[in-house]
């Protein structure tokens, strides 16, 4: 019995339970006693009792049987010999499994009289579109056949058990239907658990990410001292020297951090004023017609992949600024083609819609009564905006700006293309600099071993970045929370 079929059957049983349950509950309602829950809640409760335990069992059974199958195959493999063509036992086991999977694709009649050698078998499988590793051995064929047979029995037993449980659950649920039974509360509680589970997934994932980075970072700090990472001013990971032992290279965070903050600062200098002003325009001045066009257009801008902005910076803006500076200075250009300025400008443009759309929501959330109050005293529109609306919206706007800043700090593609990958430490915005994210990509895309400091540093950088943005986000949320009720 295939997994899909069992799955479908469980749902069919559940659906039947739902309809019977609903009907029964409706029949119970004789008008004398007020039923506790409406009929469809009884139906849903019967549905949930029928499906949830059964699906749980199905999941456990599937995992359990695949574990069992693994050890079954392992037990049948011959002992490893020195002249064995295959490197390890695990490899042999996985080859056997893919062979078993491949055999399932054969016609029943071909499957019943299999050739004894892999050389004969291979073309048959290839004809069915199954490609297998050439070092699959002949002795694996009977093992694979046996594995398939075991798997079939396991699935059959599991399927029967699951369906039996589903029916039992349905019967149990239906037997519980009484006039005053609290089906509604039961259903509501399960929904709550479901929602809770969904939100836990996000949190657990975050915890998992942090932990995995943390372990690798600890690994890194065993090789490179804490101090020389956080306070080092030279970034020189010496890829060439990797594994050579004594000279591990220098991993100073400062140039990267400085680059990250510098580029983000330039970007914010562009994005915040422009974004805020466009938000004020949209929220306060634009007629509904203009707003209906401009707002989606701006939000469309936010949907452009950052690499597209990066390409624009690389092929258009960067060269343009270089040529412009050359023209201004009479020959020698003082703006490099890849520079902080280029990256910052383009990133700023990318962030404008983020700032404006967040701020627009915040500004429109300021109650109309505030505007009326101010206009009613004879204030002009701009006075009202400057003196009443913006101060009232300020905490929200600060929060929006901080959220935007963490996006600027996390941005990678634009920087690679527009500011380059050279880890300089400079104050000159016309020169190249690079950021933490770019270096993470850089360190991980070499084909170095995973336990060299050159690679591990990526995790240390990652966790630094994580905490940097985390602190900014917490700070943003804190500000937004603290001042939120002000005008209510």
């Amino acid at each position: 019995m295939s997994l899909m079929l069992v799955f479908a059957l469980v749902f069919v049983i559940g659906a039947v339970a739902f309809f019977i349950g609903r009907q029964r509950a409706a029949a119970h309602d004789n008008g004398k006693v007020k039923p506790h829950s409406r009929a469809h809640y009884h139906g849903w409760w019967a549905f949930l009792l029928a499906t949830l335990p059964a699906l749980l069992l199905l999941a456990i059974w599937s995992i359990g049987s695949s574990v069992y199958l693994n050890s079954h195959i392992n037990g049948q493999l011959p002992a490893q010999t020195a002249e064995s063509a295959i490197a390890s036992r695990t490899l042999a086991a996985s080859l056997t499994k893919s062979l078993a999977n491949g055999l399932r694709k054969l016609e029943p009649e071909a499957a019943n009289n299999l050739p004894a050698t892999f050389t004969e078998l291979q073309p048959m499988l290839a004809a069915r579109g199954v490609a297998l590793a050439p070092d699959t051995q002949d002795y694996m064929i009977p093992i694979a056949v046996d594995a398939n047979r075991t798997q079939d029995t396991m699935q059959l037993i599991g399927g029967v058990l699951v369906l039996a449980l589903a029916v039992a659950g349905a019967v149990f649920g239906l037997s519980k239907i009484k006039v005053r039974a609290r089906a509604r509360n039961n259903v509501e509680r399960l929904i709550l658990w479901g929602l809770l589970g969904a939100s836990t997934i996000a949190i657990l994932t975050t915890v998992g990410i942090v932990l995995s980075m943390l372990f690798q970072s600890i690994n890194f700090f065993e090789r490179v001292p804490f101090f020389s990472f956080f306070f080092g001013t030279v970034w020189d990971p010496r890829f060439a020297a990797a594994g050579a032992g004594e000279s591990a290279g220098q991993f100073g965070l400062i140039p990267l951090l400085a680059g990250t903050l510098y580029i983000a600062l330039v970007a914010m200098l562009v994005a915040v004023p422009v974004g805020l002003m466009s938000a004020v325009y949209m929220a306060e001045y634009a007629s509904p017609k203009v707003r209906a066009v401009v707002k989606p257009a701006l939000e469309l801008l936010a949907g452009i992949p950052t690499i597209v902005y990066g390409i624009f910076a690389l092929v258009t803006l960067g060269p343009f600024l270089r040529d412009l500076s050359a023209a201004l200075a009479g020959g020698t250009s003082f703006i490099q083609a890849q520079s902080i300025l280029t990256a910052g400008l383009v990133m700023g443009v990318m962030l404008i819609p983020v700032v404006s759309s967040l701020s627009d929501d915040i500004i429109t959330a300021v109650p109309r009564a505030m505007r009326d109050g101010s206009l009613g005293l004879g204030a002009t529109r701009s006075e009202t905006i400057r003196k009443v609306i913006l101060p009232a919206a300020l905490p929200g706007i600060v929060g929006a700006i901080l959220l935007t800043a963490s996006r600027a700090i996390g941005e990678t593609m634009i920087v690679v293309l527009a500011a380059g990958v050279a880890a300089n430490l400079t104050l000159n915005p016309f020169e190249a600099m690079t950021t933490i994210t770019v270096k993470i990509v850089n360190q991980l895309t070499g084909d170095l071993e995973f336990n060299s400091p050159q690679t591990l540093v990526a995790f240390a950088l990652g966790i630094t970045l994580f905490f940097l943005t985390l602190i900014m986000n917490i700070f943003a949320l804190y500000i937004v929370r603290k001042y939120r009720e002000q005008y209510e």
Partner: protein
């Protein structure tokens, strides 16, 4: 008892004044109509607002009282779909004329809203907001003076004099409404429009605001929208009854409440309406 005698006195005064040539018309609406988009909410309203009197606008919900009130200081301009026809004058000047500056008009015709809406600023800054915008006080001491007198006139000063720098939003509803009145007074308007100023207040706070309105009448012209017949009778000298966007009738409060010309007014006042 007391109220009755006071009212009798007032109506005697207003009776004596009505029809006399020195009674000044502060604002005059002439065939005022208002459209919200395609829908007409107000039809041909002719209504006079007399100086240093309280004019009450009454009528069932949705009949256009707020709409008319908002025409008087052009707050309807802030609603995109609203369009006003007819003519409204302030001291015989058309306020919808091209040469009229809305900002200046609103400084002369102030407004207090139904729901107290103090700014999220300190009590002091709330009151100082208007004078600051219009440059009414040059020095800090002048501003202090304006704030203090406005709060005093609004009957709020004693309650808040020790906490002027605390946020205005931290006051009670009644105090907030008086703060909004102080804020409106601070720009020295000539006319004050009040849209159900007591609807969010308890009876005691209401009584205070009503007292206040009566005192303010000495210096200001007041137009008030109210759903409370008692309030209209207590504070106003003239009453205008609206129904379905039309002005049903208008007259001295005393006469409107004892002997109205129109049956609809009679029904509405006695609570037999709709």
């Amino acid at each position: 008892m007391n109220i009755m005698t006071e009212k009798a006195l007032e109506s005697a005064v207003s009776d004596k004044m009505s029809g006399t040539p020195n009674e000044i018309i502060k604002m005059r609406g002439n065939k005022v109509g208002v459209f919200y988009g395609e829908k007409q909410a107000l039809f041909d309203v002719d209504l006079d607002v007399r100086e240093n009197q309280v004019t009450a606008l009454i009528g069932p919900s949705g009949c256009g009282k707020s709409t008319f009130l908002r025409c008087l200081n052009r707050m309807n301009d802030t609603i995109d779909s609203a369009r006003v026809t007819g003519k409204i004058t302030l001291d015989n000047e058309d306020i919808y004329d091209k040469n009229i500056d809305v900002v200046e008009l609103r400084a002369r015709v102030g407004m207090v809203f139904q729901k107290p809406n103090p700014f999220p600023k300190s009590i002091y800054e709330n009151v100082a907001y208007g004078p600051r915008i219009h440059g009414l006080a040059k020095k800090k001491s002048d501003m202090d003076h304006v704030v203090e007198t406005s709060l005093k006139k609004a009957g709020l000063f004693n309650e808040v004099k020790d906490r002027l720098l605390e946020p205005g939003t931290g006051l009670s509803g009644g105090q907030q409404q008086r703060l909004c009145i102080a804020r409106a007074i601070a720009v020295s308007p000539e006319v004050i429009l009040m849209d159900e100023p007591c609807s969010a207040l308890d009876p005691i706070a209401t009584a205070r605001v009503e007292e206040l309105i009566d005192e303010l009448r000495q210096n200001y012209t007041i137009v008030i929208v109210t759903h409370s017949m008692q309030q209209a009778a207590r504070v106003s000298q003239r009453t205008a009854m609206f129904h379905l966007g039309y002005l049903v009738e208008e007259g001295a409060t005393d006469k409107m409440f004892t002997n109205p010309d129109d049956k609809r007014t009679q029904d509405y006042i006695t609570g037999r309406f709709g």
